[in-house]
Symmetry: C2
Subunit: 156 residues, 2 copies
């Protein structure tokens, strides 16, 4: 306790010191910053991520996409339906295992890739850090994310 009677732990409850808030508010800023650049493609940021996953490999299951993006079917199912309505992807049951739904690209969805290449270029500048900084920051975040995911298992 200091003279004012406040505990040493007080500084732990200050927003200014929160690593979690730095992550949270930066993530919100990322989504907001992408929005005007994705508007030309008619995509939201999570929809853009799904398209990126599909441009890397077509005909993935909902589960596979969900594992890559850490999103569950409650989030993906309606999102994928919107992409289907937009004419960018196809959804069809796997004939071998009918529990699975395979997500493919339409010609429009495939063609969008060329236009999408401008997005990371523009965003790279917006982040305002060089390749090396981005790389080390990315790996630090990912290792922290993995720590957080592991910690949830422990609490349960």
């Amino acid at each position: 306790m200091d003279k004012a009677g406040t505990s040493n732990q007080e500084s732990l409850l200050k927003l200014e010191n929160f690593l979690c808030f730095a992550i949270y508010s930066t993530a919100n800023a990322v989504t907001r910053a992408y929005q005007p650049r994705l508007a030309a493609l008619g995509l939201t940021y999570p929809q853009y991520l799904v398209m990126v996953v599909l441009w890397e490999e077509e005909n993935q299951t909902v589960k596979a996409i969900g594992e890559k993006l850490s999103l569950d079917s409650g989030t993906l199912t309606p999102l994928l339906k919107r992409l289907e309505t937009a004419g960018l992807i196809t959804r069809r049951r796997d004939t071998v295992d009918e529990r699975q739904v395979l997500i493919g690209l339409t010609a429009d969805g495939r063609a969008m890739r060329a236009r999408a290449e401008a997005v990371p270029v523009a965003m790279g500048k917006a982040f305002g850090c060089n390749m090396d900084e981005a790389k080390s920051l990315r790996s630090e975040l990912i290792s922290m994310r993995d720590n957080l995911v592991d910690s949830i298992e422990e609490v349960k």
Copy 2:
């Protein structure tokens, strides 16, 4: 172009290289990791942030809280109403400037602070990094967030 006919920009559209996705998925993991620790308090993660802001200083306007958390009234108004219903905060119009709504704490809301001090302690371990790492990562994220915010103005 390489032999396969793919452009050099291809690697820019790989999820694996996305700094934005590292931020996005880590932020989601943060919210998920906080959830079981905040369940005892009956708070969501954004609600917890609002309470932290109010524990630092009572009787702030919605606008002041929004500026600190980078959230607008569309997000805050319903969230604050839920905290009011939960008996943690008070909402009253400023008598001097009736456009403003002052947010205060109830006795219950004030008392919650002591119990909340366990949260950053538990989460500190979950993040799995030491104080210095957390500090530098936080400042890197904040400077990047500021860059992103500035970049949005430029696009508009």
